[in-house]
């Protein structure tokens, strides 16, 4: 368990999340891909903290990442809900109004 191995695992999680965010059509599945990416960032930040600089101030970054994830999820689901109420659809392929 060295810094390099933990970062490679985090890179793998990030890649899986990126695949999900790019390929899925349903809004909530895209958000699951985003969650996986932020998951990878939490792991990478914790690894950096322990292996490079285990100072107490470093943990503040992890709290910020957790807060960012919460905000993203709350806003994402509120918008998905509104969209579903307005149109009865949940796929991003039907949200192409701006292109017209």
């Amino acid at each position: 368990m060295t810094l390099e191995t933990v970062l490679v695992v985090a890179a793998a999680l990030f890649a899986v999340g990126l695949y999900g965010a790019l390929s899925q059509q349903v809004v909530v599945m895209i958000m699951m891909g985003l969650e996986l990416m932020i998951n990878a960032i939490i792991l990478a930040a914790a690894a950096m903290w322990w292996y490079v600089a285990p100072v107490p101030d470093g943990q503040v970054l992890l709290l910020v990442i957790l807060a960012a994830m919460t905000v993203e999820m709350a806003m994402g689901f509120a918008v998905a809900l509104l969209y579903h109420r307005g149109r009865g659809a949940d796929m991003t392929d039907m949200a192409t109004d701006l292109s017209r």
Binding site: L22, V27, E35, V60
Partner: protein, 197 residues
């Protein structure tokens, strides 16, 4: 001084948790039901929380597990509300541009892994960490002291998120609840509350 080599049990635990996290992450997009996808993501988060615990961050690891399981339980409700599936397992795979997405994510993984392996990380000048029992207290002190700006900013953002989420999600406004003159009490809600408001 750099970190001493990890013990055998630590390495085994780390590899088990890592394989679990990545496998569960892949399973999110492969399983046949929405509840299974949501809880595969929850397993991935719990595995990452366990790895953070292995990296000697007790409070952050436990908070990650707590928050993420709670979020996945609520997200399962939203999934089922928006996609309307039942517990039976039906193959569901709604993707667009699958090959392109796989190609891009494999390329990103190779670039990031190459960066992780080739960059000379500055681990030699590492300070000795404080005692493990004091880590949470020091986090609290630093976020209420030198990093108070983080606390203020995150508080304001989270409060704004609560208000914005409610404004976006609740379909009734003040006028539907209290009448046109905003005087009708108790409010006209589909469910009366327990306190009588």
């Amino acid at each position: 001084m750099p970190v001493p080599d990890a013990s055998v049990s630590e390495s085994i635990a780390f590899w088990i948790l890592s394989i679990l996290a990545v496998a569960a992450g892949i399973a999110v997009f492969r399983v046949d039901s929405m509840a299974r996808a949501t809880y595969a993501l929850a397993i991935s988060f719990v595995a990452v929380g366990g790895t953070v615990l292995l990296l000697r961050l007790d409070y952050i690891g436990l908070i990650t597990v707590l928050m993420m399981v709670m979020e996945m339980a609520i997200m399962a409700i939203f999934m089922i509300m928006l996609m309307g599936m039942n517990p039976a397992l039906m193959p569901m795979s709604m993707v667009h541009n699958n090959k392109g997405a796989v190609g891009i994510s494999v390329a990103v993984f190779l670039i990031l892994a190459a960066g992780a392996l080739l960059v000379p990380w500055p681990i030699d000048g590492r300070e000795t960490p404080g005692p493990r029992a004091d880590r949470t207290v020091e986090l609290g002190n630093s976020i209420m002291g030198p990093h108070m700006l983080v606390m203020i900013a995150v508080s304001a953002v989270l409060f704004a998120t609560i208000v914005a989420g409610l404004v976006l999600a609740v379909p009734r406004g003040r006028y539907q609840r209290f009448g046109d003159d905003l005087q009708h009490r108790p409010a006209r809600d589909p469910r009366r509350g327990g306190v009588g408001r």
